[in-house]
């Protein structure tokens, strides 16, 4: 087989946030058979070497690193399950523009979104109401459990989109406060 340039689309370098800790992963596939990686964390810890990765059923992989075996399976959004333990993971492509930093939760308008799919049980405020930080805004129920959503700031209810007794999806905006 003709030896190709090792770098032609075979190299990946991505920034990572794994278990809340920043780092980076780079992968080089010199040939289809021989792949190596380098994972470095911001705390200075580093691991690198060859690895082998094989697809199991849809979405699950077997990863071998230095003779040790890791079963990597999909988990909840934002999570992979490694040998049965959930690992929170986010990847960022440094070539793309980085997302905005910091939360806008306490500046300007803030969307109050449903944390889970469910039913709006009660609206505790109306549009135009003055509210305080920590004040209950709306109660969403799912799986026999009620969840009271509290205001992240002191201010005003700008808009109430949720309707009592209506069904909402996870992430759906229920109210806007500012």
């Amino acid at each position: 087989m003709a030896r190709r340039s090792p770098r032609r689309d075979a190299a990946v370098k991505l920034e990572t946030v794994i278990r809340g800790r920043a780092g980076s992963i780079s992968i080089v596939a010199e040939t289809p058979g021989a792949k190596s990686f380098r994972y470095q964390r911001e705390d200075g810890q580093l691991i690198e070497g060859e690895f082998s990765m094989e697809a199991l059923d849809s979405g699950a992989w077997s990863v071998l690193i230095g003779g040790r075996t890791y079963r990597v399976e999909p988990g909840a959004p934002g999570e992979l399950i490694v040998n049965g333990a959930p690992v929170a993971i986010e990847l960022f492509d440094p070539r793309a523009s980085r997302g905005r930093h910091g939360s806008s939760a306490n500046r300007g308008r803030v969307n109050i979104a449903a944390p889970m799919p469910g039913k709006v049980v009660r609206l505790l405020v109306s549009a135009g109401d003055a509210i305080e930080e920590g004040q209950g805004l709306v109660v969403v129920e799912a799986m026999k459990m009620q969840n009271e959503m509290k205001s992240p700031k002191t201010g005003l209810v700008v808009e109430v989109r949720a309707k009592a007794d209506s069904t909402v999806a996870a992430g759906e905006v229920l109210m806007v406060v500012e």
Binding site: I81, A85, I89, L91, M143, M145
Partner: protein, 496 residues
């Protein structure tokens, strides 16, 4: 024996009952709401009847619709499972009035033992120990103060019609009594349409241990030993086991509690399967708490150690057969522990996590019993409780059962929604759990000492490799921390 039985429930318990019916050669009728048309229970049953819209008030709690379905399908009996209408005396009566056998105790027994105060009176009359306190609902604050003073603080306020922690308040000081009573009473009124509240002495850091009983229509009654259910979160059981670690050291306690439970059951004229809940204090004094007049969620634990099939006996007793087992026939072998797999997020205050299961690998192999109501591709509805499955494991000893359960949990992976499956592995690794030092306060202590997971950089690297390799790199769209390219891809199923 019956030819056809309707299962008026959903989820894992409907599946378990349908399996049991099939094994007994009895045709099964599942019922379903809009949210459950694609449920495993419907897929596994012989017949299925539509009840109505998803809210349980329009489906699984509708006595009229359920009886109508039973009539249409020619079912001779109804098994109510647990929850929903399982402890509803009117439902039992309505079944009888329709000529349909309710698989459970008689309506009178449900009514009597379903009321906490009434059940307490029965226990006292039967000579069984109860938690010191009143039998009567509180009438006014002064009466309440007098009672609390005589018991000594802390005391517990409890709803007469209650369960699941609703209408319950711990009171440490007399000055809090009045407001706690008001809170408990109004919560009870909302939950049970009955605001009656009574006072008990609070047993500090008790074990929650229950005794399974089984009785026929001819006065034969036996107990099948205990289940320790001390690991609870907000009064919801999370882990159950048999034998209780305290009974491993003090085997005489099983017989003492079993005898007390049988005395209460006999006094109540109880038949079919039922469970007496007790609190056990550090000195192994036990106090009758309440009775569940139905099959328990955690019945597999008893089935694994006794080799008996509780559902089979429920059906045989309901069909009028005699309980051919005597107390001497019951033996307990090895150790069984069950974990309740809930759709909830242990990292976000156990927030419910309904939704579509996009990937599912289930544990199997030696000693593993999985009672699941879900499958890969099923959308877990938000209308019902979050119990997805029960993972129950048997082993020759408690240590081995813990090791096996950990092994099985490590094989369990559920994607798309969040579950507490991995969280159990942390509990199993906890020294106090392993040493059997359990109480209903266990989880509070556990959360206080819980350490962050530090299982090595190599596992992180494996996750990073898998994610980086499968991320669709050709379109490096603008990424932000809350919606990275990889996460978005995962959500849209591109990685699956």
């Amino acid at each position: 024996m019956f030819v056809k039985v309707l299962v008026s429930n959903r989820g894992e318990i409907a599946v378990r009952l349908i399996r049991g019916l099939r094994e007994m050669g009895i045709a099964s009728v599942a019922v379903y709401s809009d949210a459950d048309r694609a449920s495993l229970a419907v897929a596994l049953a012989d017949e299925a009847a539509y009840l109505g819209p998803s809210p349980s008030s329009e489906s699984y709690l509708r006595i009229d619709k359920i009886l109508d379905a039973a009539r249409r399908h020619g079912a001779e009996a109804i098994h109510p499972g647990y929850g929903f209408l399982s402890e509803n005396a009117e439902f039992a009566e309505a079944c009888a009035a329709s000529g349909i056998v309710f698989i459970g105790p008689r309506a009178e027994a449900i009514r009597r033992m379903g009321s906490k105060t009434e059940a307490r009176r029965v226990a006292i009359a039967a000579g069984a120990p109860v938690v010191p306190g009143t039998e009567q609902p509180i009438e006014d604050v002064e009466q309440a103060k007098a009672i609390a003073r005589s018991l000594g603080y802390p005391v517990l306020l409890k709803a007469s019609a209650g369960g699941g922690g609703k209408g319950m308040r711990q009171v440490d000081r007399e000055e809090d009594l009045a407001s706690s009573w008001r809170d408990a009473s109004s919560e009870a009124l909302r939950a049970f349409r009955n605001g009656e509240v009574y006072i008990e002495k609070l047993v500090v850091e008790p074990r929650h241990i229950e005794i399974q009983v089984l009785g026929d229509h001819y006065g034969n009654l036996i107990h099948l030993g205990e289940r320790e259910c001390s690991i609870q979160r907000r009064h919801q059981k999370v882990i159950e086991e048999c034998p209780s670690p305290v009974m491993l050291l003090h085997p005489e306690l099983r017989e003492q509690m079993g005898t007390a439970a049988l005395r209460i059951a006999r006094h109540a004229g109880y038949s079919n399967a039922g469970t007496m809940e007790f609190l056990v204090d550090r000195d192994r004094n036990f106090y009758f708490l309440e009775m569940n007049t139905r099959l328990q969620v955690e019945h597999p634990v008893t089935e694994l150690v006794t080799g008996l099939d509780l559902v089979e006996w429920q059906l045989r007793i309901a069909a009028g057969e005699r309980l051919t087992l005597s107390q001497e026939d019951i033996t307990w072998s090895g150790s069984a522990i069950e974990c309740r797999i809930y759709a909830e997020d242990p990292e976000r205050q156990f927030l419910p996590s309904p939704g579509k299961i996009t990937h599912l690998r289930e544990p199997a192999g030696p000693g593993v019993r999985l009672d699941s109501g879900v499958y890969s591709g099923f959308t877990v509805p938000f209308d019902y409780d979050p119990l997805l499955a029960k993972l129950a494991v048997w082993g020759p000893s408690r240590d081995r059962t813990i090791a096996r359960l950990d092994r099985a949990l490590a094989e369990y992976s559920i994607a798309g929604i969040r579950t507490n499956a991995a969280f159990f592995r942390e509990i199993l690794a906890d020294t106090e759990f392993r040493e059997g030092r359990l109480s209903t306060a266990f989880l509070d202590g556990f959360f206080a000492r819980r350490a962050p997971d530090e299982s090595g950089i190599e596992a992180e690297a494996a996750a990073a490799i898998a994610a980086a390799t499968t991320m669709p790199r050709q379109t490096p769209a603008p990424v932000d921390r809350n919606n990275s390219g990889w996460l978005a891809a995962a959500r849209e199923g591109m990685l699956r």
